[in-house]
């Protein structure tokens, strides 16, 4: 549930502070004592018996709205100005009114009464209205015995009957208000006699209005019953270049609130999307702290171009493309460094809105095809100065270990393997007896790791200025030794109103992240891959020699140096530092009421520094007498956006919201890296590359791109019942071929709020019902920088011991190269019923992506390998459902939220090909690459042989092509990594000051290709294996030890990746304010303590470390692989947040 952003009619900032401020409960109710009263002589015969004066705050003249912009002017001048604007003849005496007192007030569309209340606050006067439209300021009390009454009552919940605390009750037009106490009771004193309208409001409830007649010296009772509002209809949703209320939304947008984001300690905001929005699939690549996550909105569209959504942080599109932001210096399979989105502190986020359908994302045109994630950070609120401090400490560990052989079992297995190939056994019975259990290499690399976080924010503001300043520190020690990540971030968000027409401000975050990345170079006998080597390391070998050094002698079974995983983890430097600045400055000017010009200049600056050093004692540095590299990539992306926004309501029925804009964006990157080998000493590590005897390589480049866009959007509403949206964007990109410089991306949407129709109202079922349909086109321009151009690449040959650099044709020209195009239909419904207790949002979508970029292979006779062309097509269609319910309200409150997304993906066309095998580029030493693209099958399908059992201790496969032999023709589709459906279920239970939050998340039907298992069951007798190899495990009945069955791609290694996971469980307790006062913590306004557990349970049949896995998260074609992947930890966290 998300808190509605608080909007006054017009921007109101009252200088004479307090005039409209609510009273704190329990601190007296003398709110309006210092404000002026509006009185008029009582008419004879009126029912306001016993008084010469009656309340005039509802008088027409006081209800008219005016705008004023007063800055440090004399009260006398201010009054003159107000009188002129209000058409009010105002008389007063300098003896009564302190005319020289300076006042400041800027307000748009505020009532005359409110304006006068503000400027005359504390002036000690009352306003006396005469019947002829004159007003006189008279000294308070000069009218004789002014008698007053009071309004008292209680605000209760319509469902539970319990009192509603902190509801605001206002006397409309009188500037009087109070807040309810814990029991829902309130009291407003000093209310002039007469008939008043009283309104009670509370976030999360629909407001209620009552009429009351106040009698002198009496308490008039007004009780309110508020209906809880489960619906998100009041929510303000970011839609790109603006916001709208959810009730007016025509597109498919999912939102994640600050509450949800901060409920679990996630280091990176994309992880906060996991399981919270239907149709948004998030697979965290690994347990590496700061790891990238694979985020797919409504399935993956592209084969070659990137599938990640566009991230827009406070209007700044940010780079998530690691291709340009890294130099590839790190030793890892695919996770090239830490996640750039992790630069943003999740605590700073106000909301995340995910634009899913074409109507919503077409405003981002050629970048909207994969969906758009809009991130809005927090801003200060006028008059609400607050300091918040929070901290947590977590403890993490891996869920379980792989059951591999101990030293005795291992030695026996090896002897059997040797015997089976007629070799003498390497281990004597005496050796075996001496081994015992041997080294537990998993124990040696895994640890219980800490995670700490501290964050502090100061926010607030006055009538014209608001600010939000925050700082945070995060330290996440990985569960594998030698890994970890820490981040420090700073944010300043500033808003300033210069006049009632002109505003400016900025959003800025600066962060530094540092990650020690797990060395994972794939599989090879001398490759440092910590997790893989740990499970495969012979338990007969020690971690350290008797002399205390890491054992790195020869492994007698391979005859080659042993890649000691502990040494790899601790001795190899594999580190990335990211410095990132994301921010913008903006100015808005109201050309006239409802017409605003906005201009902003944004910057995303990312410097990534990647260090690698492998000393001469540890592989791979051992082969080079030390090997080191440093790479740095500076990526600068600036964007200038200019929009003209018009918003008006006509004839009380038609609402029009138009926006048009022009944006420029340019992205430059300047990577550099160098590698050197053969060092005299390891002490200087990567900082002394110049001392290397061999300079292996230097790499520099400067990829650049520009984007120029025009866009417009029109929203038109009729009677809040029929809503239309038309969006169009023209994107020009330097990446496109000469023949396709500009692309046009239109969309249209229609929504019908059926609940506004009488015949639906008569049904009495729906509190709200909206039906939506949208269709439109978006694109993907993330296609590489110079692919349309013919380019040469550089070559190296050596003549006479010297490098001879040459040039040769590298890429053939393709002037027809253009964006990928996605056409999407969305049909959706939003319904709220059962007195706003149940909200259902559901969508069906069908999107087809064509002009897919695909490296079309060229015949070798052309001299080229391939050409990038727009040929493929892929379809994603699916269904999304989210249900939010308020199950219980009152002392025991319970809210639930369920979301499920089904997506079906299918390759429709691959140009000249119908089947492409092994495109995924599964990493070094995997031996297997079961990736495939096949027309008619989903992307990320697996391809291989069908296991048909063991014969003579070796696996045999089904002869599908009937040629009587084991042959490539026997291969078929053997599964795919895409889930049948994914979902999440959140339950929030509150009881007094306790809150319990339980978040379950699942993925059903996805398959995992477990390369680890394939390497752990070869039974070749040269590496440690799963116990299954000896005992006969799943699929491996009676393996012949020593057969080394070459690891053919087969369904033997495909496992069901279905899981149900307790993602987060959190119990929190907010200390009552009375307790805080009792222990003299008066400064502390809130203090919440919590304990939470992440991944607290996991139900899965997957045999590997963890089912939530995607080693090649950055790849479109190789999802669902477990290959030396850093396992996800489970965690328990203790923390608190305090407000001052």
């Amino acid at each position: 549930m998300r808190v509605r952003a608080w909007k006054w009619a017009g921007a109101v900032m009252l200088a004479a502070a307090g005039a409209l401020q609510a009273q704190e409960p329990g601190q007296g109710v003398a709110l309006a004592a210092a404000g002026p009263r509006f009185l008029t002589p009582a008419e004879p015969g009126s029912n306001e018996v016993g008084s010469r004066w009656s309340d005039a705050s509802n008088a027409a003249v006081l209800r008219q709205q005016i705008s004023v912009d007063l800055k440090d002017v004399r009260l006398g001048d201010a009054l003159a100005e107000i009188a002129r604007k209000a058409g009010l003849r105002l008389t007063y005496s300098a003896a009564v009114v302190p005319l020289d007192v300076p006042v400041t007030l800027s307000a748009a569309n505020l009532t005359v009464g409110a304006v006068l209340s503000a400027v005359l606050y504390d002036a000690g006067v009352d306003v006396l209205l005469t019947s002829r439209g004159r007003a006189a300021l008279v000294k308070r009390g000069s009218l004789g015995d002014l008698q007053l009454g009071a309004i008292v009552g209680r605000v209760t919940d319509s469902l539970s009957g319990q009192g509603v605390a902190v509801a605001t009750v206002t006397v409309v037009g009188a500037g009087l208000a109070a807040r309810t106490g814990d029991d829902g009771a309130y009291r407003i004193a000093n209310v002039p006699p007469g008939t008043h309208t009283v309104r009670a409001t509370r976030i999360g409830y629909t407001s209620a209005t009552r009429s009351v007649t106040v009698v002198v010296d009496q308490d008039s009772t007004v009780d309110f019953t508020l209906t809880p509002q489960a619906t998100q209809l009041e929510e303000v949703v970011a839609i790109g270049y603006g916001t709208t209320e959810r009730r007016d939304l025509t597109g498919a947008v999912s939102s994640v609130s600050a509450d949800q984001i901060s409920s679990a300690p996630v280091p990176s905001l994309d992880q906060a999307l996991l399981g919270t929005a239907p149709g948004v699939q998030v697979v965290t690549a690994s347990g590496q702290p700061g790891a990238v996550a694979m985020v797919r909105i409504r399935g993956g569209n592209s084969i070659y171009a990137r599938n990640d959504p566009l991230y827009v942080i406070d209007g700044v599109p940010v780079t998530t493309n690691l291709d340009e932001a890294t130099t590839g210096s790190l030793l890892s399979q695919s996770v090239r460094g830490i996640n750039p989105v992790a630069a943003v502190n999740p605590e700073d986020i106000e909301s995340i809105d995910v634009l899913k359908d074409a109507s919503a994302s077409a405003i981002y045109g050629a970048r909207g095809g994969n969906g758009v994630v809009l991130i809005t950070t927090k801003r200060g609120r006028a008059g609400h100065n607050a300091v918040s401090f929070g901290s947590y400490y977590g403890v993490q560990e891996v869920r379980h270990r792989l059951p591999v052989l101990d030293a005795t079992q291992f030695a026996q297995m090896v002897n059997t393997a040797y015997a089976n190939v007629g070799q003498p056994p390497p281990y004597s019975p005496a050796d075996i007896a001496a081994f015992g259990a041997g080294t537990d290499w998993q124990d040696a690399i895994f640890r219980t790791a800490a995670m700490r976080s501290y964050d502090m924010s100061i926010s607030g503001g006055d009538d014209r200025t608001s600010y939000y300043v925050s700082g945070s520190l995060l330290q996440d020690d990985g569960v594998v030794i030698g890994t970890g990540m820490n981040r420090g971030s700073f944010r300043l968000n500033f808003d300033r109103t210069v006049s009632h027409r002109f505003r400016f401000g900025n959003r800025l975050t600066v962060s530094r992240s540092k990650g020690q990345v797990l060395p994972n170079a794939g599989l090879g006998q001398e490759v440092p891959s910590v997790v893989l080597n740990a499970v495969m390391a012979p338990p007969t070998l020690p971690v350290r020699t008797a002399g205390g050094e890491y054992f790195s002698g020869d492994d007698i079974l391979t005859g080659r140096p042993f890649p000691n995983p502990v040494a790899s983890a601790l001795e190899i430097t594999n580190e990335e530092r990211q410095y990132r600045t994301i921010g913008n400055v903006f100015a808005e000017y109201d050309l006239r009421d409802g017409l605003t010009l906005r201009s902003s200049f944004g910057l995303d600056y990312l410097t990534s520094l990647q260090d690698f050093y492998s000393p001469s004692t540890t592989l791979p540095g051992r082969n080079f007498n030390g090997q080191g590299s440093r790479g740095e990539a500076q990526t600068t992306s600036w964007v200038n956006e200019n929009t003209l926004h018009f918003n008006r309501r006509f004839a009380d029925r038609y609402s029009v919201d138009l926006i048009g804009g022009l944006t420029f964006q340019r992205t430059n990157s300047a990577p550099i890296s160098g590698t050197a080998n053969d060092f005299l000493t390891d002490r200087l590590r990567q900082n002394g590359l110049s001392t290397g005897k061999v300079f292996q390589s230097i790499y520099t480049a400067e990829p650049r791109s520009s984007l120029l866009s025009y866009f417009a959007r029109a929203n038109w509403g009729i009677s809040d019942k029929y809503l239309f949206t038309l969006t169009g964007r023209i994107d020009g990109s330097s990446k496109f071929g000469a023949g396709h410089r500009y692309g046009f991306f239109p969309s249209g949407a229609l929504a019908w709020r059926a609940s506004e129709e009488d015949f639906v109202k008569r049904l009495g079922v729906f509190d709200d019902l909206k039906l939506r349909v949208s269709y439109g086109r978006t694109g993907n321009q993330d296609i590489g920088n110079y692919n349309a151009l013919a380019t040469l690449y550089s070559t190296v040959y050596v003549f006479g011991g010297a490098r001879a650099v040459g040039f040769a044709p590298g890429n053939p020209a393709n002037p027809d190269l253009k964006w990928e195009t996605t056409d999407q239909l969305d049909i959706g419904a939003d319904a709220t019923f059962l007195k706003n207790r149940v909200t259902i949002v559901t969508d069906y979508y069908n999107k087809k992506t064509h002009d897919l970029l695909y490296y079309t292979p060229l015949p070798g006779t052309t001299g080229f390998f391939s050409s990038l062309r727009n040929i493929g097509s892929v379809r994603n269609r699916g269904f999304e459902l989210s249900i939010s319910t308020v199950n219980l309200t009152g002392t025991l409150g319970w809210e639930s939220s369920l979301n499920i997304g089904w997506n079906r993906n299918k390759v429709l066309n691959l140009g000249p090909d119908s089947l492409i095998i092994g495109l995924g580029g599964v990493g070094a030493g995997a031996v297997q690459d079961p990736t495939v693209l096949k027309v008619g099958e989903p992307v990320n399908s697996f391809y291989g042989w069908v296991y048909a059992g063991m014969q003579g201790g070796e696996p045999v496969y089904r002869d599908l092509d009937g040629d009587g032999a084991f042959s490539p023709g026997d291969r078929t589709i053997i599964g795919n990594a895409q889930p049948d459906y994914t979902g999440g279920l959140t339950n929030r239970v509150t009881y007094h000051n306790f809150e319990l939050y339980v978040f379950l998340q699942w993925s059903v039907g996805n398959k995992i290709y477990n390369i680890n298992r394939s390497r752990l069951t070869t039974a070749a007798g040269n590496a440690n294996q799963l116990q299954d190899v000896v005992t006969g495990g799943r699929g491996i009945r009676a393996p012949k030890i020593g057969n080394s069955f070459d690891g053919f791609e087969s369904d033997l290694f495909i496992e069901d990746g279905t899981y149900l996971r307790g993602k987060n469980l959190r119990v929190s307790y907010s200390l009552p304010a009375t307790w805080l006062r009792a222990v003299h913590f008066q400064k502390l306004s809130t203090l919440q303590l919590y304990v939470s557990a992440q991944n607290f349970f996991t139900r899965t049949d997957y045999s590997g470390y963890d089912p939530e896995i995607s080693e090649y998260a950055g790849s479109n074609l190789a999802q669902g692989f477990d290959f030396g992947t850093y396992p996800q930890p489970r965690q328990i966290t203790f923390g608190f947040t305090a407000g001052f």
């Binding site: 010009l597 400067e702 520009s706 025009y710 040039f807 040769a808 044709p809 052309t862 000249p912």
Partner: protein
């Protein structure tokens, strides 16, 4: 205000197209290349690079592993076993690799031959560069035509969209090869020094031409061309056969005629891998994969005095190296392959690593010229300067085996063939020799028979259909005018 804004927007919009112009600053485009002599030199270096990759791995899967000289061991991946056991088909990757790398060589050479004549530059340098392009183009076509028979022929740069081309009869391909090599032989330098060391020489062009003639069974031209090289005195056999594989004296030694240069120090990441692949697994000093072993039938052709036998082409366990390290290895059921181990090279002995070796791939050496001469003369070519017997005996006596004399033509033929096998194991000669002698099918049959007795589990299904390899299936999928060779 509004007008100002609109005006500003208009001005911005007008400059928009230039905003989108982002000519690359970190890559070259054809528009700004082939302008200067250094461009011409760089373009020729690019041709050599294609040859470097062309002989890096896939080439010797075909030229050596797919022959009776080598048997894939259990350490070898399935591709090696399929090649070794001759159970591969048109989808096997080495064929596609050689095809692509050869045509990349040809296209780069064609670009040089088309464009370099138009560059204003030193004429002598231009002539030499064009000669190198002729040599490299001929060398690529020669490999293609021997492996695949008729192949598409391009004499000029091709359009990237020129997809469906037909095969040209091999006689036409050979005609271009001969004219290219004749041009190269007259324009290339006899030798180079300094930073030009390793470029194709006139001797290389002549030696390759001799091999072309030999392959075409043009005995007269083969004998004459080889005889000219012998007579030039440019080359001499090294006293010690093993020194041919010494990394320190590659290219510069007297026997070397042309080599593909791999240099892991100057060109890291592109060092050679055949040493690692062939050394017995666990051999001390770094990567050694032990992917192959020497069949007993090959071991048996080396006499005990033959320096190319034990401790030459192969080694048996235990083996004591020059650093006195004793290696015991189990490589059932034949001896381990040892030929490329240079025990005087630190890199070879202590720092072996993937793509980290500098061992060259020898294309032509003087022993080959002598044996070509002996063969051509024995088959009817005219002798000049020395007899066929002298040429053969020069190679034999250098290896430490007895000279032959007075053999019949048939016996001499057998002797030359046996000598070629002993001399050039794993030097990219065997498949071509067997193919041109018409002995490929028989040799593969004998090998599979031997293999079945050595490793009964191995799959050996069929022999070699004819004396050609299959046209890569991936090419035929993309080019519908490519026909397949018979039997594949």
């Amino acid at each position: 205000m509004k007008h100002t804004i609109s005006l500003a927007a208009l001005v911005l919009a007008m400059s928009c197209d230039s905003f989108l112009d982002q000519p690359p600053t970190d890559v070259l485009t054809p528009e700004n290349f082939f302008k200067t002599s250094s461009d011409a030199v760089a373009a020729v270096s690019g041709i050599y690079e294609a040859q470097k990759w062309g002989h890096w791995l896939g080439y010797w899967y075909m030229s050596d592993i797919a022959t009776d000289d080598i048997i894939a061991s259990s350490n070898f991946g399935s591709d090696g076993h399929r090649m070794s056991n001759y159970v591969f088909d048109a989808t096997e990757w080495p064929m596609g690799g050689i095809w692509g790398d050869s045509y990349r060589t040809i296209n780069r050479a064609n670009a040089v031959l088309d464009r370099v004549p138009g560059i204003t530059m030193d004429p002598a340098l231009r002539t030499r560069l064009l000669g190198e392009a002729h040599f490299l183009r001929a060398s690529a076509y020669f490999e293609l035509v021997r492996f695949f028979g008729d192949v598409p022929l391009f004499e000029h740069e091709v359009d990237a969209l020129q997809l469906n081309v037909a095969r040209t009869p091999e006689a036409q391909v050979y005609a271009l090869i001969v004219s290219d090599l004749q041009a190269a032989a007259t324009t290339l330098g006899a030798s180079y020094s300094g930073a030009d060391l390793g470029r194709a020489t006139s001797g290389a062009a002549q030696a390759l031409l001799a091999k072309v003639y030999l392959t075409r069974q043009d005995w007269a031209n083969a004998a004459q061309t080889a005889g000219q090289i012998i007579a030039s005195g440019q080359y001499a056999l090294l006293p010690n056969w093993r020194d041919n594989f010494k990394v320190a004296t590659e290219i510069t030694n007297s026997e070397s005629i042309f080599e593909i240069n791999y240099d892991a120090t100057a060109d890291p990441g592109a060092g050679s891998v055949h040493t690692l692949f062939s050394l017995p697994a666990g051999f001390p000093g770094g990567d050694a994969y032990g992917l192959m072993y020497v069949p007993p039938s090959l071991v048996n052709i080396f006499g005990s005095s033959d320096s190319r036998g034990n401790h030459g082409t192969f080694m048996v366990s235990p083996y004591t190296d020059l650093m006195s390290r004793v290696d015991t290895f189990a490589m059932p059921p034949g001896p381990a392959f040892a030929k490329y181990l240079d025990e005087t090279s630190t890199q070879n002995m202590t720092a072996r690593a993937w793509v980290g070796q500098s061992n060259n791939w020898i294309i032509l050496r003087y022993a080959d010229v002598l044996l070509m001469y002996a063969e051509a003369v024995n088959e009817g070519g005219a002798a000049s300067g020395m007899t066929a017997e002298q040429a053969l005996n020069a190679v034999r006596t250098r290896a430490g085996i007895a000279a032959v004399s007075g053999l019949s033509q048939a016996a001499f033929r057998d002797s030359v063939r046996l000598e070629r096998r002993r001399e050039f194991v794993f030097e990219g000669q065997r498949w071509f020799d067997l193919s041109r002698w018409g002995l490929l099918d028989a040799a593969i049959l004998a090998k599979t028979t031997e293999l079945q007795s050595l490793a009964p589990g191995e799959t050996t299904v069929h022999g070699a259909p004819g004396n050609l390899l299959p046209i890569p299936q991936s090419e035929r999928d993309l080019n519908h005018n490519l026909t397949q060779n018979p039997g594949w």
